[in-house]
Symmetry: C2
Subunit: 151 residues, 2 copies
């Protein structure tokens, strides 16, 4: 892998950056709650389930999920209109230990409580309903969908 000193330097910086990105990704309340929720759930979760559980606007959840995926912490699986995210444990022991660590964090249990409720409306283990708390579709609009047809 590393042919010479220069390559080692580059490789070292590359690896260091990867680890830095992981910690940076966890250094935000919403993203930490996302990972924490996934470690508690023990299974993949759908975007709308994150939204209803964490009570954050849909566009925020989507963006944070993307960052976590880019940091290598999540994988996504598309199923029709639904997108499920799960913990990405590829690549050695590091992430496994990290996820155990995040799981051990003792925060208030409201997120988990709301997730449990939300998971209750799955059918055959699959997500079949979108965001239930319509005020989370956007922040101001209260769930109003803008029509495409105009004038």
């Amino acid at each position: 892998m590393c042919r010479n000193a220069y390559m080692q330097l580059l490789w070292g910086e590359f690896v260091m950056k990867a680890y830095t990105e992981v910690f940076k990704a966890l250094g935000d309340p919403t993203r930490l709650r996302i990972i924490h929720l996934l470690t508690l759930a023990g299974k993949e979760l759908c975007v709308c389930e994150f939204v209803d559980s964490l009570e954050e606007p849909q566009y925020n959840i989507s963006r944070h999920l993307k960052e976590l995926r880019q940091a290598g912490l999540l994988t996504e699986r598309k199923e029709g209109r639904w997108v499920y995210y799960s913990l990405n444990k590829d690549g050695g022991n590091f992430k496994d230990s990290l996820f155990k660590l995040v799981r051990s964090i003792s925060v208030d249990k409201e997120d988990a409580k709301r997730l449990k409720e939300r998971l209750g409306i799955r059918v055959k283990g699959e997500c079949v309903l979108g965001i239930q708390k319509s005020y989370l579709l956007s922040k101001k609009g209260g769930g109003v969908r803008v029509k495409k047809t105009m004038s």
Copy 2:
């Protein structure tokens, strides 16, 4: 500790913020290298030893050390003009696991190599010489000290 639901909410947010700050603190290359170096060293290190080992300007090291201390990851001990920093393991298993995790990171070993050299000039286990790489005192100046007396 938590008398009612409102207190629990506040407490939960407080704790979540504390964990977030920890991860955020590690989400910077220099700070991650500082913690990594400390986990490898297994003992307290002096500011000038960080500077020579990580080859970052003194003012940057000072600032990053401060942030790590404010995040609860470091403690400092003053000994005359010298200030030693060590890992702060207070407060349950979380930080212990975290430090083990950081220790397990495999990055290039230049930092550790330079630290080993630098520790060679300690006397009776104590730091007795300041920054050896004078170009790290500031970035541009090359170690020039400005006189106080003027005009």
